[in-house]
Subunit: 277 residues, 2 copies
């Protein structure tokens, strides 16, 4: 017997983008599957007046639903956080809780400057990240051989196994220069890596996928083609995995993994300790 | 007088990717600018044995540096969290702290299932996100007119003002189908939007940039070209802003904003309330 989920409203309040608070709220709330949470994003709350407006919205939500909304806040200013916390809600003060703990442990005071986590766009680190995004775009799907020597990693695998979103995520989230290059039937016939990749063998990381899933994904793109047929998918996947084993390329299956999981596994396995954004 | 920053090691421990914990740790630690934090990512800690190994690493770090490392943990399993917390460290138990609070408030027990926040790759939501990434890639820089009617938003602006990374971020992080289309000198001569965009005027959102910054960015790509000259940049930016005002297109400046900030502002202004990933 399945019961319908219980609805709850979640406010995500931040003086900046709210991305940290929202990422965190998803993580925590994924542990309460009997509930269905409706998230309301309230970013850029950087004055007491705006905080008071949010308090009014939270209270109105409580009156309308009869249930206290959950509120995840990364407000840095303690006064603004208290304003929100005074509403009729279940208040999670992410900053307050941990900043005070760290202040005590480090024997110092936090700067309490608003909107800092995504600032610093003039930094070297930030421009490296934009460069990584441009690099990964330019080196998507084997489009460009030039510059592959600058890649941090080159993903290889059959068409539609997940190389493109993974490369872009690695660039976007970690500032990793991730190229990707397809393994195609021509390579399997020759039984060897594409020639352009041979000089960079140490940078290669393979992605594979279950043939059933691959056929599904390919059918969406080109319905009822030979390309999408299960037979073709079984064959290509087997050949690609054989080639990766033969060439000693580390690889993993993308079938049941999100791009976050695939990307983190890759960084972990190739030993890249890159900053997250 | 500037003093050199104090170094501290930070361990980011998770049973899954660690992305939530790391995003959160950056946010909080950006408030302590007198310190320089070295982050060590320890993802996929999903057994007590692995947790014990991490504890050994943390203790070794304490012995070597004489300073307690900071530890941000999103371990769901309380026993594993306790194992880590028993090390010589400043322990931030992100899950434990808030999960218990929510459990009490909702009158229920959390599922405490490991690695859930990035799972569910078979869901409709997840495939929408991958579709959005593919859409944004295919519709980068006006490459494809076909399908623009499916866009959630179409970013416009002069070359190198930040359209591409923003479109990809919107797709990756929010599952938004974000196309982008350049405004070029031809358009300014005609004094009108590119014809292909006219049917989608309501989906347009403009990005602009300070001409000095634009010249810098363009110089990196094509040093000493007319394209990168300050004169050309001043002119293009003025014309683009004039056109956006004329056509009543909402726009913002990317000059001092990160792609996170630009993307969140856009969602906020166009009223798209999309799920974050």
């Amino acid at each position: 017997m399945t019961t319908s989920p219980i609805n709850r409203t979640v406010f995500v309040v931040s003086d900046s983008t709210g991305i940290t608070a929202e990422t965190f709220s998803h993580s925590v709330l994924s542990q309460f599957q009997e509930f269905e949470f409706q998230a309301v994003r309230v970013p850029f709350i950087d004055t007491i007046e705006k905080a008071q407006d949010v308090t009014v919205r939270i209270n109105r939500c409580f009156e309308e639903t009869g249930e206290k909304p959950l509120v995840f806040s990364t407000l840095v200013d303690p006064k603004m956080a208290r304003t929100i916390g005074s509403a009729n809600c279940i208040f999670m003060d992410l900053f307050g809780s941990f900043v005070r703990h760290i202040e005590r442990a480090l024997g110092t005071k936090a700067d309490r400057s608003v909107g800092r986590s995504h600032s610093n766009v003039m930094s070297k680190q930030y421009s490296n990240r934009i460069e990584a995004i441009n690099f990964s775009l330019a080196h998507d799907d084997g489009q460009l051989i030039n510059g592959l020597e600058q890649a941090d990693v080159i993903l290889v695998g059959v068409s539609r196994c997940g190389k493109t979103p993974t490369s872009l995520y690695l660039a976007m989230q970690y500032g990793v220069k991730a190229a990707n290059y397809p393994l195609i039937p021509d390579d399997f016939e020759r039984g060897a890596l594409p020639l352009s990749l041979v000089p960079y063998r140490k940078k290669l990381f393979g992605l594979s996928i279950h043939p059933d899933r691959l056929a599904e994904v390919r059918h969406e793109r080109r319905p009822n083609s030979t390309y999408a047929s299960l037979k073709q998918c079984i064959n290509e996947v087997a050949e690609a995995e054989r080639l990766m084993r033969l060439e000693n390329i580390p690889w993993l299956s993308t079938t049941t993994r999100s791009i976050e999981e695939i990307s983190t596994k890759i960084l972990d396995e190739v030993g890249l300790n890159k900053r997250i954004y």
